[in-house]
Amino acid sequence: MGQIISDLSGELAQLFVSILSALPAIIGYLALIFLFLFLWGIVKKRLTPTQDYTSLKTVTFGDESTVVSDKAASIISVVLIFVIWGAFTGTSWLPNFLHAPGPFIGQDTFTYTVETEDGTRDDATVTLVSHRAGELPETPEITPGDGIAKDDVIVVQAYRTKLLSWDANDDVTRSEGAKIVAIDGREITRETDVETGFARVALTDKGTLNIEPGKGWQMESIWLPAPDSVVSRLMSVSRDGYQNVTLAEHLSYSLFRVIVGFFLGALIGIPMGYAMGLSNWFRGWFDPIVEFMRPVPPLALIPLVIIWAGIGEQGKIILIFLAALWIMAIAARSGVSGVAITKVHAAYSLGASKMQIMRHVIVPNSLPEIFTGARVAMGVCWGTVVAAELVAAEKGIGKMIVAASKFQDTDIVLMGIILIGIIGFGIDVLMRMAEKWLVPWKGRV
């Protein structure tokens, strides 16, 4: 127990350090929010002021009805995300002055100083050529120069490092006791590196030089691809597919699982909820099952479902079915329980039979609750299907991003995440539209 506590407090300390290191970025972002608030305030003043009822209120702080989402803030916020994303990936969509400093690309030189065993020193020049991934520049021709140390050339890809065996062409070698003591006239040891302005030079244990061209502030595309490369990936994947499976196929499989699983869950869950809402016996029977299963996240069932049903479609549909079942059962139950007794009494005293009360009073009365449940269930199902595909699937949007991550195709991963978000949002919008159309009385009673 004590071990666990000390381990966990170690984790907590690490987390705290990470948060501290992210603090400048958080503060910078907050500063941007307030900066745009200020700037938009100035712009707004120049526009003709509207004089509607709300704008004439003197008490706005604390009046919930005066707080409406500011469209300008939403637009600026979304644009800013893309600008930040583009700035730190050097996208071609943004003008250069908005880019964060990029990695060093091109050619520059630094000198190193060799000291032999007897104390004599000599300088030589290293020409560093740094290039982008996928490009192969020509190695420049140089003359070796005079003295015991001869000039070198090294070609390094941006964001990579390379070792320079400087003594390969020199008159003295490391085995004879020669060593490097300075870079560009500044002392270098194994503990202290030297920044030349375009590269970082370090001394290895064996005495060679480890050369790392400057990285700048931009992210390497393997960490964060530029928005334009995500879009071009979207184009190419939707045209040619990824790993012999088209994007439409990936998406269709995911949506198929969600829709079939959700439909089955509603098909069983709604009658189950009705039974629980209408009968003591069924409520008593299903209550312990539902109350136990509801807090179990569907994701925790993935291993068991794989053991039982394998990694085929059945397993995933069972999982989605279980994710939807309890939510729909509880929604239907509370829909039935929520029927005002006066409505039921009124229907009886108007001569309605039990079946008629079910059909004309209880079912329509429970529809708003069922729709709320269906919206929640759809969201959970969509999340569950993606997670299930991450674990085991042959096709599906989750499978696509996990396969891409293994090949470090970060642009596909990012594209998949954005598609998952858009589709999840689209499902919710569709559900809300259906709700407005089918239960227009919701919230107006």
Partner: protein, 268 residues
């Protein structure tokens, strides 16, 4: 004998803590066809319980309800009910609500359409027939509830504070409407209310109930309902008799309330 007999109704139920409540004790009442009875009493006197027993939503522990010489058990279409609020079906339009009874009885539209239209005209909703009920004001919703009850043509109409949730002006208009409908249709009506004025204005007979156990305290026969038919109700209220009766009954209910308060203070 047509009419409604309430015979020796007692209602006593057990509480989870082992004690019991005597909600009603030996309540008997004989209502002739077409009589309008209003029921008054302090809270807890069992007037809503009595109404629920008459409607058939509750079974009394003793006694019986006889309607037109037949014992009435359970709810049915002969005893229509108008609730205070929230009993309309929001998922239906005004016309569907009003025609609910005939439709559930399996009647074809041709059989009820004319009557439903007529009733909607009578309650003053001729311009709102195609609306959804949630688009109407509280007063209009109660008009729909009245029309819905009448469209089913019950023998007895039970009203549980039907005007209690309305503002004073709307309430006065609706009181006039209830009187008018009563006279035009000749229905037997039991009306529960908290308002002494309303009970006096609408009740041909007036029952004052007393609490613990719920029982009939005093019964009146009143002339005001007949006076008020087709007349300005404010004129009726100016009658010297009206004021006297009001003070008398108010005093009676005040005394009962004070007694309840006193008793709870003693027991506390």
């Amino acid at each position: 004998m047509p009419g409604l007999q309430i015979q020796n109704i007692s209602m006593r139920f057990d509480l989870p803590n082992g004690s019991h409540v005597q909600a009603l004790q030996d309540v008997s009442l004989d209502l002739k066809q077409g009589e309008l009875l209003s029921v008054l009493g302090p809270s807890g006197c069992g007037k809503t319980t009595l109404l629920n027993i008459v409607a058939g939503f509750l079974a009394p522990t003793e006694g019986s309800i006889i309607l037109n010489d037949q014992p009435a058990i359970g709810p049915d279409a002969e005893r229509g009910m108008v609730f205070q609020q929230g009993a309309l079906f929001e998922w239906m339009g005004v016309r569907e609500n009003v025609s609910f009874g005939p439709r559930m009885a399996g009647k074809r539209a041709s059989e009820w359409a004319e009557n439903v239209d007529h009733l909607l005209d009578v309650v003053g909703l001729q311009d709102f027939k195609e609306k959804m009920v949630y688009e109407l004001s509280g007063g209009m919703q109660q008009r729909v509830a009245l029309a819905r009850c009448l469209a089913n043509d019950p023998d007895v109409i039970l009203m549980d504070e039907p005007l209690g949730a309305l503002d004073a002006l709307t309430r006065e208009k609706m009181q006039g409407l209830v009187l008018k409908l009563w006279k035009e249709t000749g229905k037997t009506i039991i009306l529960i209310t908290h308002s002494v004025e309303e009970a006096l204005l609408l009740g041909e007979r007036l029952l004052v109930m007393a609490p613990r156990p719920g029982r009939i305290h005093k019964e009146y026969r009143l002339p005001f309902a007949d006076m008020g038919v087709g007349k300005d109700l404010r004129e009726v209220k100016k009658e010297p008799d009206f004021g006297e009766r009001r003070e008398e009954i108010l005093g009676m209910i005040w005394d009962m309330e004070e007694e309840i308060m006193g008793r709870t203070e003693e027991s506390a």
